[in-house]
Amino acid sequence: MIRFALGRLASLTASLIVASIVIFAVVEVIPGDPAAFMLGVNARPDTIAALRAEMGLDEPMVTRYAAWVGGMVQGDFGMSWTYKTPVATLVADRIWVSLPLAIYALALSTLVAFPAGIYAASRRGGAGDTAIMGATQLGVAIPNFWFAMILVLIFAINLRWFSAGGFPGWADPFAAIKALTLPAIALALPQAAILARVMRSSLLDMLGEDFMRTARAKGLTRRQALWRHALRNALIPVLTIIGLQFSFLLAGAIIIEQVFFLPGLGRLIFQAISARDLIVVESVVMLLVFTVIMVNFIVDLTYAAVDPRLRARA
């Protein structure tokens, strides 16, 4: 187990190093001088040069890369050029929108997908199964930003149950959760559709296993065998998908944040790209990649701890 973990840790470190180089290189080739961009069209060349020096842009590329990575290892993500605040502070502010939104959406998606997937698998081929599978086909095909617009049209404009956008902050938790409800539903729909399909097919795989026949043979009803034996084993692929979806929701909410004017991480990156605030782009993207890689690492370790066969294979 320790050897497995160390091997995984080594490949994780390698991935992080390569990722940091890729991100730095991509951001490096973004056209437009950030200093010139900040000072506007009328800036004098010597003013721009002075600002470039102040921002450290005239240092060699390798020095800047080393400074960036060195800073991040120590928890210093750099200073935003446009906001004049440390990137860590910016992220800390935004994470209180993005993280609760991701958790909210994931909770909604799981709450819908688990019963739907289990029901469909237990009634395979029946009318309920057909209806649920049809609904999931629609769920994966709907562009979520369009679904968000429809939600706004129905629940904000016509029924006036929710506001059409914006975020009031966590001072009033009820208002905050209310503001995140439509975005969370819009994000959750395609995720729930995918999760329900995975849940169903994973359960169906388990229902064909020998241990299920044994369970039935020793006198359990179909329902008992399903709940006690099949479900537990079927959860492994489902948890993998949930892990992937969580990291996707954290970063992938850009468009939904845009529809609802939510001040989240996605909007931060989007605005930073348009303002050529490179350090914000680099550090936030790196942070997201780090999160995804760590989530995968933890998921791998958990499986290896639970299932010894995976350790032997690696």
Binding site: A19, A141, W146, L153, I157, I254, I255, F270, V292
Partner: protein, 271 residues
């Protein structure tokens, strides 16, 4: 043939047909503004109504179909064109350092938040349909590479491959002549799924202004333009959305139907 296959093929043919027809004929010219006739509701001379500039929505949907399908199709081409050879190469040299590097590279691309990178790419090179293709295409490469490798690995253990090796064929020739034909079905099915994801991704990118630029019509931008009009003229926002929904639905059904029809054993990755 299953119901999925028939409905899926029908929807796909319908939207591909609309796109093809738009090269020859559209009901109205979408570059001509007709402000007095703006925001007409569906029915009448404008079958699907008009937008806030008085442009015919049916014509715009037809032109938008062209953009969406072209972007998604080329993006799938990039994914297959690079991903399949990489996967075949990794499988041919299974267990080697090269195999490891290719597969780790795949994992790495998967770890990047795809939408963020797509936005970054279009920001670096400027928003355009071409750069949207590259941004979407890059994330198709690891999907095909991984699938190709995992489908090719068991084939390498089979007797007919052994026979080919005994007859003196090299790894590259075996991959092209014996492995590839055996995994082609799987690639077609996965290609259909990636095609539908590409349509969604193109719509998302052009919705935030990073896809095809005006005057090229695109479904995503039609939705962005319609967002502020949703309360006074809902049809302007509903119609392009239904076009995306039905195209993606059609492709997904087509993919599922093809999978069952070609080979009930093969399984498709969908994340």
């Amino acid at each position: 043939m299953s119901r999925n296959l028939i409905i899926g093929a029908g929807l796909t043919a319908f939207f591909t047909g609309l796109a093809a027809l738009s090269f020859l004929w559209t009901p109205y010219d979408i570059e001509v503004l007709d402000i007095p006739n703006r925001l007409l509701t569906p029915g009448g001379v404008h079958l699907l109504g008009t937008d806030h500039f008085g442009r015919d929505i049916l014509s715009m949907v037809m032109m938008g179909a062209r953009t969406s399908i072209a972007v998604a199709l080329v993006a799938v081409g990039i994914g297959m064109g690079l991903g399949v050879p990489l996967g075949l190469w990794a499988a041919a040299r299974r267990g080697s350092l090269l195999d490891d590097v290719i597969m780790r590279g795949n994992d790495l691309v998967f770890a990047f938040p795809s939408l963020v990178i797509a936005i970054l790419i279009t920001a670096v090179f400027g928003p355009s349909a071409g750069n949207a293709i590259i941004a979407i295409g890059i994330f198709n490469i690891p999907v095909f590479a991984r699938l190709t490798r995992s489908a090719a690995l068991p084939l390498w253990e089979r007797d007919f491959i052994l026979a080919a090796r005994v007859s003196g064929k090299g790894a590259a020739r075996i991959s092209a002549e014996h492995i590839l034909p055996n995994i082609a079905n799987l690639m077609v099915v996965q290609g259909t799924i990636q095609f539908s994801l590409g349509i969604l991704a193109e719509a998302a990118l052009s919705y935030i202004g990073l896809g095809a630029q005006p005057p090229t019509a695109s479904w995503g931008r039609m939705l962005a333009d319609a967002q502020t009009l949703v309360s006074i003229a809902p049809h302007v926002a509903l119609i392009p959305g239904f076009a995306i929904l039905l195209t993606v639905l059609g492709l997904n059904l087509l993919g599922d139907g093809l999978r069952d029809w070609l080979d009930p054993r093969i399984r498709v990755v969908r994340t």
